[in-house]
Amino acid sequence: MEFIKRNSRTILPFVGLVAVIIILLIVSGGRIFDPGNLNNILDQSYTVVLLSVGCSFLYAHGGFDLAVGGIYGLSMMIPGILILRTSMSIWFALPICIVVSLVCYLLMGIVTVKLQLPAFITSLCMQFICRGIVTTISKGNITLPADFAAGDSWVLKIIVLIVLLGGAYILLQRTAFGKFNRAIGENPVAARQSGINIDKVRLLAYAVAALLVGVAGFFSMCSSRTVATLAGSGYEMNVIVAIVLGGMSLNGGMDSSVRAAIVGTLIVKLLENGLVIIGVSSTWTNFVIGVVFLVVILFNYKRNKSGFLPR
């Protein structure tokens, strides 16, 4: 009992996930796990899991990322256009995705860190900039060559996923860098006085996020074979909700975890998809997710408040 109480933050999201699955299964009469729909859920979750895990490195140190959807979109649009024009091998798209994402994230990171601006603001700007570039250079949605199907293999995608998530877990949870990153979220002043090069650690976190976002972009190109001008819009919100539902604090800190980002994403994506399947109109989907989000936030807020002890 003591154990459960102490680890409620870890356990509750799992309970939530299982509850969501069971409820949706019952209400939909098993339909949400039809092969067709399952594929759908997995496809969407695949992308958002990678984005959430990437962004969790930023949230862990007290950052914020409203740009992830925009950067993801741009990191697909640029290689998409290049490949259409030059007809090079589709595999070149992967490094280009990563480089575009890296450039965006590092630019944003440098401005945030060096000028000490709130990440909330800089990432909002970055989102607009990316979306602006995407619409300008593409003049509409583009359709990619059929060769991209070569990258749309679940075997490949799963291997990549395992490597990336495993790597992210080790990096955030089991290395000095990861602990430094989380310590900054806990208390930046104390982190600096503990001898952490906080600027460097924060920039590295941006680079990690960039890598995951770039890879997510590439595999989305492979599975959908189109790039929409609006691709990724709204994903930043998906990520925020996922991180909170997964049990992480948006202020970051020691409790931040890759696990939270993964579990949270699954909950959000299942809810989104499941509600549509059981016939709730898509306008209400957002409403429901909003309410769930609010409840979890209130719950966390109350707990943090009672944990605050002046002494």
């Binding site: 602990k179 430094f180 208390n187 104390a190 006085q193 800190g253 002890l309």
Partner: protein
């Protein structure tokens, strides 16, 4: 004299597995200044927090002037005339001094829904003036104030309601003589008006001088209450720790020698505020004590030496010529620092004891790129044993530790980091005498191992007791320098401070 202000009967309070109070009976009479003393974690803050409405108790009852009394919050307690000055920072960041003083009482200055800020500012100025701290600008943002002045603002806030009972929790050790005098005067005034004061401190001399009676707590049990006549250091100490204290408190030698090599030097420092043309050399194996009034710039010296702040002119360099301009440069060369503002600057308050201890040393215990919990645990446990940190286990968040035990955690992280140079700003603040002794012996041992220590402290006795060399500062410059000797007295040093 015997009219009773507050009585606590059979108070029990547990925090999870920790038995903080195990049936405490406590009474405070009108006109009393009651000292409260006990080892770190003995329950002093807890009993006071219960009286002042911060926590409820598990069982037991409170009576205020004979009436049953169950405060539901600090504000509620204040309305009943019980005010507390907290051990840790109790001011609220990002707002002005006057807003801090009148927080929750804005209604006093509100007319037609608009707060009259001018009137509020004036009233704030008046209270500060009465307190003897008229130099604090009520309009200044609270964060521009130093630790001492923020404490004084907190006192002003507590005093505005004219409380019948004032609780001062372990505040004085972090204050300079001026701040302390303000508090002593306040206590005397309250006592002469037939009000009561509960005064928590680890400083026996202070308690014996200013308190009318003294209560000793040990492990959540009230051991005894001594009237003035029975207050005697050796008796108090043995009541506190439950045994006789043996061995040296500070160091016993008057040798005062240290190495030739200069390990850290500050040259012609000008920081744009307190310090002008400041020079300092720290030698290998030296304990360098720095004393002075709170505003003399000694705390800034520590911050500059560790690279937290950058001087406008001049430089801080190590023996090998490395310039320290960031804390990470300092720690890389095995320099450690303890800030005076512990909870805000030196620890991650919601993180575990383990994480707090290992944080500066993570690179040392990384093996093939990874951290292993067994290594972390080993490091944390070593410090827990070395400093006898009172906790259930090292995976407990530090926010549940008593003030003194938090200080031990901060101390332990630099011992674990094997610092060659330690910059300690009020390191024994809030630490009980038993642990203080252990810390002093540890500092002495570090010196003997050839490590160097800068000891910045408001407590002259500690500087005199420990230093090989003492620097006294005044207005941002060195006003006196003394080699270790038997003849140095606090009196003599104070002359150079003012």
């Amino acid at each position: 004299m015997s009219s009773e202000l507050i009585r606590a009967e059979n108070i029990v309070k547990n925090f999870g597995l920790t038995k903080a109070l195990q049936g405490v009976d406590f009474a405070l009479n009108a006109g009393e200044i009651r000292g409260l003393i006990g080892e770190n974690g003995s329950g002093k803050s807890t009993i006071c927090s219960i009286i002042s409405g911060i926590y409820g108790c598990d069982s037991g009852s409170l009576f205020l002037k004979g009436e049953p009394y169950t405060p539901t919050s600090m504000v509620d307690a204040q309305q009943h005339g019980v005010a507390m000055i907290m051990q840790e920072m109790g001011t609220i960041s990002n707002i002005k001094v006057c807003d801090n003083i009148f927080i929750g009482k804005e209604a006093l200055f509100t007319k037609n829904g608009v707060v009259n800020r001018r009137a509020m500012r004036k009233a704030a100025g008046k209270i500060l003036e009465e307190l003897g701290a008229g130099d604090i600008d009520p309009w200044a943002p609270i964060d521009t104030l130093n630790f001492e002045n923020r404490k004084l603002v907190e006192i002003a806030r507590a005093m505005y309601d004219d409380p019948d009972i004032l609780i001062v929790d372990e505040t004085t050790t972090a204050l300079s003589q001026r701040g302390r005098d303000i508090i002593y005067n306040l206590c005397d005034k309250m006592s002469s008006q037939g009000k009561g004061v509960i005064f928590i401190s680890h400083d026996l001399d202070e308690i014996m001088e200013h308190c009318t009676a003294l209560t000793v707590l040990r492990d959540g049990v009230l051991i005894d209450t001594l009237e003035k006549e029975r207050m005697e250091p050796s008796l108090i100490k043995s009541l506190m720790v439950g045994r006789e204290m043996v061995g040296d408190y500070y160091r016993s030698d008057y040798d005062g020698s240290y190495g030739e090599e200069v390990v850290l030097s500050m040259k012609d420092i000008y920081d744009g505020r307190e310090l002008k043309d400041f020079n300092l050399e720290l030698h290998k194996g030296e304990i360098l004590g720095i004393g002075g009034l709170s505003e003399c710039g000694m705390h800034e010296v520590g911050r500059l030496a560790f690279g937290i702040e950058k001087p406008l002119q001049g430089s801080v360099t190590l023996a090998d010529g490395t310039e320290i301009n960031q804390p990470y440069v300092a720690t890389k060369h095995r320099v450690g620092y303890i800030s005076k503002n512990r909870d805000q600057e030196s620890m991650m308050i919601t993180a575990t004891i383990l994480d707090n201890i290992v944080l500066p040393s993570l690179k040392d215990i990384t093996r093939s790129g990874l951290l292993f919990r067994s290594d972390e645990k080993k490091m944390a446990e070593e410090q827990r044993k070395l400093l006898s940190i009172k906790c259930n286990n090292v995976d407990q968040p530090v926010k549940g530790l008593s003030g003194g035990n938090k200080q031990k955690v901060v101390f332990g992280r630099w011992i674990a980091n094997k610092s060659e140079i330690l910059i300690l700003d009020c390191p024994t603040r809030g630490v009980d005498i038993g642990v203080k002794q252990a810390m002093y012996q540890l500092i002495y041992k570090l010196k003997q191992e050839g490590k160097s220590v800068i000891l910045i402290s408001e407590e002259l006795a500690e500087i005199i007791g420990m230093s090989d060399r003492i620097i006294i500062m005044k207005d941002g410059a060195v006003s006196g320098e003394f080699a270790r000797s038997e003849d140095i007295t606090e009196h003599k040093l104070i002359e150079y401070m003012i």
